[in-house]
């Protein structure tokens, strides 16, 4: 049985954009899956559907074989952690409390975070190399630091499935590497499944087990990085004129670079 399974899922917004149309797919434990595709392909919508931010208008989503609508929202929130694209707090807050609020689905009404919850929060911060930020305020952190705090917040709830919407944006190359290798390590060490949306094809290909290409609300290709990182695929699904560059010892995966020759001004 798959961890999560989507069966002919439909969703469209009232203004018609960013729909998901008849999407079927499945994800298993221990998988790191990159969801790629052009703007408006429905990638974020897909994550929101799985995270139960929105409900499908057709088809169904099953978690370990159970329709997610039948699982109590808080119980589901303990299994599935979601990091939205933009995550910002309007009011200043300490990092440790932000991370500890990831324990909310485990708290009863009127119950405060216990010392145990704070301990889990510290451990999650340490896993994200951010323990030194515990007493700092969010608004005095860099974008990369804040990203790590919010990843720690998701990890703090110890979910089986983690959904990350564009976790790599606003990170410089060194932080991108730290962040994505951290996610890789989590998948390998804990057997969690991670689905992340990204526009960065090469970083995704370097670390993901699987790349799911979406276009116009559907999955148009779902395969290993070697199969996805091809100039024809780029042209067909992204309208992107690309060259594939091979380096030695990369297990057959090519890097995609822009084909500048075809767009040079005369």
């Amino acid at each position: 049985m798959s961890l999560i399974e989507l069966d002919a899922v439909d969703f469209h917004y009232r203004d018609g954009v960013s729909a998901v149309r008849g999407l079927s797919s499945r994800f298993d434990e221990g998988e790191l899956v990159a969801i790629i595709g052009p703007n408006g392909a429905g990638k974020s919508t897909l994550l929101k559907l799985i995270a139960r931010v929105i409900a499908p208008q057709g088809g169904e989503i099953r978690f370990r074989g159970i329709r997610i609508g039948e699982i109590a929202p808080r119980a589901y929130a303990r299994e599935v952690g979601y990091l939205p694209q933009e995550q910002e707090s309007v009011f200043p807050m300490r990092a440790l409390e932000v991370v500890a609020s990831g324990r909310a689905p485990f708290l009863r009404r009127f119950q405060w975070e216990s010392e145990g919850d704070y301990e889990l929060a510290r451990r999650a911060l340490a896993d994200c190399d951010a323990l030194h930020l515990a007493d700092r305020y969010l608004d005095e952190m860099s974008g990369g630091e804040r990203k790590r705090i919010f990843l720690a917040r998701v990890l703090c709830g110890d979910p089986k499935l983690i959904l990350l919407d564009e976790p790599l944006t606003a990170l410089d190359v060194s932080h991108t590497q730290t962040f994505i290798s951290l996610i890789r390590r989590i998948v390998d060490q804990t057997g969690k499944a991670v689905l992340f949306v990204s526009h960065d094809l090469n970083w995704s290909a370097a670390y993901a087990d699987r790349m799911m290409v979406m276009n116009a609300g559907s999955v148009v290709l779902d395969a290993g990085p070697a199969e996805v990182m091809q100039p024809e695929v780029m042209k067909r699904h992204f309208g992107f004129d690309a060259l594939a560059v091979r380096s030695d010892g990369e297990g057959g995966v090519a890097w995609i670079v822009p084909d500048a020759g075809r767009h040079k001004p005369r």
Partner: protein, 331 residues
């Protein structure tokens, strides 16, 4: 490693300590406030056999001090709630037009001579408050979030409209004058009686209890609606509860005291300045801070131009407007 870290006190303990400190300050300010007024009465008057002194203290000053505390507690608690609910640091019952709506409802009820039926004026005020917040929300929401600037503009326009309605309602009533309009629009605690205190205590307790039940969920809105939903927060129910609780309390407060602005803005921000924490701490401390601020403001309103009185709304505006401008510049 050889480094050491300061172990932060847990949030629950911070809340209890903060509440004890603020509660103590509130009590002190209330006791002091009892001994300011048109007649010079010292603490000794309480134990003296002087009937006049006792009447002044127990029938005039005590209800007024209690009423000021309740109104302040309600307005600041509503401000903290609206700010958290709308994720907007400038939200407050006055700026959003909720107080204006409530005053309008109350003024209409009294203009039509419905004030003699108990509970009718507060009911109209509650309806006005609900109407105002519903309109402001509908006007300011775009793509699922409330835009701060649209929120302010909607509140501004609504306030102008409600002021006009109040004036119209009073103009249509024979025998009323502009003084009563001023009473609604600038707020006053003069003439406080024990029935007002009783009514407001009930509104406060009901509303505060409702807000406490949703506090754990409401604070999850700090990170956005999508995030809260994904964490299993029943957002619609939580929002509706908070919305009704805040409107109910604001309606009752305005029905007895008119529009007193800026308390709901000033107090939660002052609390956040010292302890930037989530709504579970913000709500109780704002309630205590708001009560303290309004008792102190009312004392000032009574003594600044004695033997006359300033409208209390003028005092809170003197304090609140500079604060608002600083916040606006920063956001």
């Amino acid at each position: 490693m050889g480094s050491w870290t300061i172990r932060p006190v847990s949030l629950s303990r911070e809340t209890v300590i903060g509440a004890l400190v603020l509660g103590g300050i509130l009590l002190g300010v209330m006791i002091l406030s009892m001994f300011f007024g048109a007649v010079d009465l010292g603490p000794r008057a309480v134990w003296s056999g002087d009937h006049v002194a006792r009447t002044i203290l127990l029938q005039i000053r005590l209800p007024r001090v209690l009423l000021a505390a309740l109104v302040g507690a309600i307005l600041a608690g509503a401000g903290a709630t609206f700010q958290t609910m709308l994720r907007n640091p400038l939200a407050d019952p006055f700026i959003l037009g909720v107080s204006g709506g409530a005053a309008c409802g109350a003024a209409i009820a009294s203009a039509f001579r419905l004030a003699r039926y108990p509970g009718v004026v507060p009911a109209f005020a509650f309806a006005g408050a609900c109407l105002a917040i519903a309109v402001v929300l509908a006007l300011s929401r775009r793509h699922g979030t409330s835009d701060p600037v649209r929120l302010l503009l909607a509140g501004l326009v609504l306030n102008a409209f409600f002021s006009a309605l109040i004036l119209l309602a009073l103009a249509l009533t024979a025998g009323s004058d502009l003084t009563s309009a001023l009473r609604w629009m600038m707020g006053s605690l003069a003439g406080a009686v024990w029935t007002d205190v009783r009514l407001l205590s009930i509104a406060f307790v009901v509303s505060f209890a409702l807000l406490v039940t949703v506090a754990g969920d409401l604070r999850m809105l700090d990170f956005g609606e999508d995030d809260a939903r994904s964490r299993g927060v029943p957002l619609e129910r939580v929002r509706l509860t908070a919305f009704l609780a805040a409107s109910l309390a604001t309606g009752a407060a305005v029905a007895v005291s008119g529009i007193i602005g800026f308390v709901g803005l000033l107090v939660p921000h002052a609390i956040r300045l010292v302890l930037p924490r989530d709504y579970r701490l913000l709500l109780p401390l704002s309630v205590l801070g708001g009560a303290t601020l309004l008792v102190a403001s009312d004392t000032l309103a009574r003594v600044m131009v004695a033997p006359a009185e300033l409208p209390i709304g003028a005092v809170t505006a003197f304090l609140g407007v500079p604060f608002f401008l600083i916040l606006l510049r920063r956001s």
